[in-house]
Symmetry: C2
Subunit: 251 residues, 2 copies
């Protein structure tokens, strides 16, 4: 049985020049974060690195020893700039080998159109397992605590759906939002007072402008429903005490 | 005069639990990347860290020595979880002081509504300069090669507009896209051949599905217009040679 009281953690390495050039907006971080939350695992750090062998190896070695799980997105395709498998293999000091099942999947998917470039996607660090890809041909790859996923969000989301419930995790973090049409600067003291009163509770403050007005959402996070609800009630009472109307559920 | 042939680099540290919980989609990375590109500076790495002092200090110390410039977003507001100024000060071994001009700005902005929490936003590492904030009250902060910006994208964008053209940078990277209704796996060899033929040229490959069809955009990057255009022409010729219709400008 996994330890449900332990805080299980994950890191993410986003690999790709296209994110660092601003051409592509990363969408995998937010999706993975929410997916992990349901699995009872906290995303504790993300690093976005270019398609450079040395940088990927360094980031992989730092993250795989810092967190329970490490996810990578990007760089597992067929082109010359897809070097994630090689980098992870080097980080782990493993050889790169052809995975026979991945070869079979790719041959089935591409048929006559199989090529040397496409067969690159059957390469894995020695000892790796495959992560099924329900969207396109090439599978993801798991080795030790490292999960190599695609850069294309739709593919990574399909891979994550397939491994949901299979990772050891703790109790999912619960959250509850309270909003108010007030700038966060007006109630900063209230937030810090309530947070300090309630052990096991985190309160984040997220200001915004909407409809020409300043508002804020306060997101309360805790692992126990009762603790969460107590903190939310306490916060709403404390806001009313300074003449701010709390909106349960957030704005 | 700045050295225009040097590759000027920047790192970004995104500070905030709300990004790592998946609640908020980071929008600062893509915007800053494009802004830097125009300034002739390459974004070479991004780290997303939680609102934890130790993690921020570690990331700041790593990045400020790895890149010419370091930007941070988030954690400079008035609430208890806003600890970026303290973390940067500790990383640089400076005291935290009240910046008199920041104090004046905040007093002018908030008038009677000034409070201890709001005055937190006048705190800076000793020796820092202010970055004007055209959107709301609290300024950004520059110290050494570190630029502390807001988490709210609209504010950070306003701050960046104000400092455009003031940083030493090199020649901006130029890019040109060529698209094709073909999967990247079909032309991976073509891409790597053309890239290896053309020094100073990078070709990124970005597949997508749209209108039920598979397509790819190939983004060619170079610092010289002539080199860029030569590479684009060469790529389009090479694609036609394998019966793929290139679409100049991308899809």
């Amino acid at each position: 049985m996994p330890d449900r009281t332990k805080i299980w953690t994950a890191g993410l390495i986003v690999i790709g020049d296209e994110i660092l050039s601003g051409r592509t907006q990363d969408a995998n971080t937010a999706y993975l974060a929410k997916w992990l939350n349901v699995e009872g695992i906290e995303l504790k750090g993300v690093e976005i690195v270019p398609d450079e062998m040395g940088r990927i190896i360094e980031a992989v070695n730092r993250a795989r020893t810092s967190y329970d799980y490490l996810f990578t997105t990007g760089g597992i395709g067929p082109t010359h700039d897809d070097i994630t498998v090689d980098a992870v293999a080097q980080a782990l000091q493993r050889a790169v080998v052809i995975h026979p099942e991945a070869k079979r999947i790719l041959e089935g998917y591409y048929g006559d159109r199989i090529s040397t470039a496409r067969m690159r996607m059957a390469r894995v660090p020695e000892g790796a397992e495959l992560i099924p890809n329900p969207v396109s041909g090439a599978p993801g790859i798991r080795i030790d605590n490292i999960f190599m996923m695609a850069g294309v969000p739709k593919i990574t989301q399909g891979m994550l759906a397939g491994i949901a419930g299979t990772l050891a995790g703790g109790q999912p973090v619960l959250d509850r939002s309270v909003g108010a049409w007030v700038g966060e600067t007006a109630v900063a003291d209230v937030l810090s007072t309530v947070e300090s009163e309630k052990p096991g509770v985190q309160i984040g403050s997220y200001p915004f402008w909407r409809e020409g007005k300043v508002g804020s959402n306060f997101v309360i996070r805790a692992r126990e429903r009762q603790v969460l609800d107590d903190a939310a009630e306490r916060l709403m009472t404390a806001l009313r005490a300074v003449d701010v109307d709390p909106i349960d559920g957030g704005i």
